[in-house]
């Protein structure tokens, strides 16, 4: 069996966190590839259904470039400790 990899979904507002993620990329700060970023026009755009769908797909739920990279690293480590999301089996 292949080793479990965390699946971290970041829903980022275009005007704040996404800018940080973009900056993190531009400045070549590394953050784990387990992190996937979805850009939204505003955090108000996020429907509860988005989060539920992400969780059902096995995701685990998170502004400044370096800060983004650091938080994502930390998040990845925490998630690895927590292990896979059991909702995915539902």
């Amino acid at each position: 069996m292949e080793e479990w990899e965390p699946n971290i979904l970041v829903i980022a507002c275009n005007w704040c966190t996404y800018q940080a993620a973009d900056m993190a990329g531009s400045l070549r700060y590394c953050y784990p590839p387990s992190v996937k970023v979805v850009r939204v026009p505003c955090s108000g755009r996020i429907e509860p259904e988005f989060v539920i769908e992400a969780l059902l797909n096995g995701a685990i739920a998170g502004s400044k470039g370096l800060k983004f990279a650091e938080v994502m690293k930390e998040f990845d480590e925490t998630v690895r400790k927590l292990g896979p999301n059991t909702l995915k089996k539902v």
Binding site: C13, N14, W15, C16, V40, P41, C42, S43, G44, R45, E47, E49, F50, I52, E53, L56
Partner: protein, 135 residues
């Protein structure tokens, strides 16, 4: 699972179509998807937050000279309505555009009592509400 009618969230059309269904014109303007400045910014850096909302309001005034601003976000509603009055009081804004939640606009168009469905606002709305009621 989630049927999303919005094909491109960065060129949103659903709200504009819903307004058009009520007989209004809802044209595009260049800061349509720009941030209203609410969210965490309003509590952490009010000055920047007011700069964002001022730019958005000025764009709405300059490009559309709108009679009304309609939003489906209660957070944007508070910001666009309340910050407008603050900016006016500080002499940073010399116009006034009433703001309504889409549901309030719909209720008014369906003939509900404005005092029950659209009473609370900072920026005056009476004029536009009377205009809507008269049809």
């Amino acid at each position: 699972m989630y049927p999303d009618k919005e094909e491109d969230p960065f060129n949103p059309k659903v709200l504009r179509e819903l307004c058009e269904a009520l007989g209004a014109e809802a044209p595009y303007y260049s800061k349509l998807v720009d941030c209203c400045g609410m969210g965490a910014l309003r509590s952490t850096d009010p000055e920047k937050s007011f700069t964002l909302v001022k730019e958005k309001l000025e764009c709405i005034k300059d490009e559309l000279d709108a009679d009304i601003i309609v939003t489906t976000c209660s957070s944007c509603l508070i910001q666009l309505d309340d910050a407008q009055e603050r900016l006016r009081k500080e002499g940073k804004l010399n116009f006034s555009i009433p703001v309504l939640h889409y549901v309030q606009l719909l209720a008014l168009c369906m003939g509900f009592d404005p005092n029950q469905v659209a009473e609370i606002s900072v920026t005056p709305r009476d004029e536009i509400i009377n205009k809507i009621i008269k049809g």
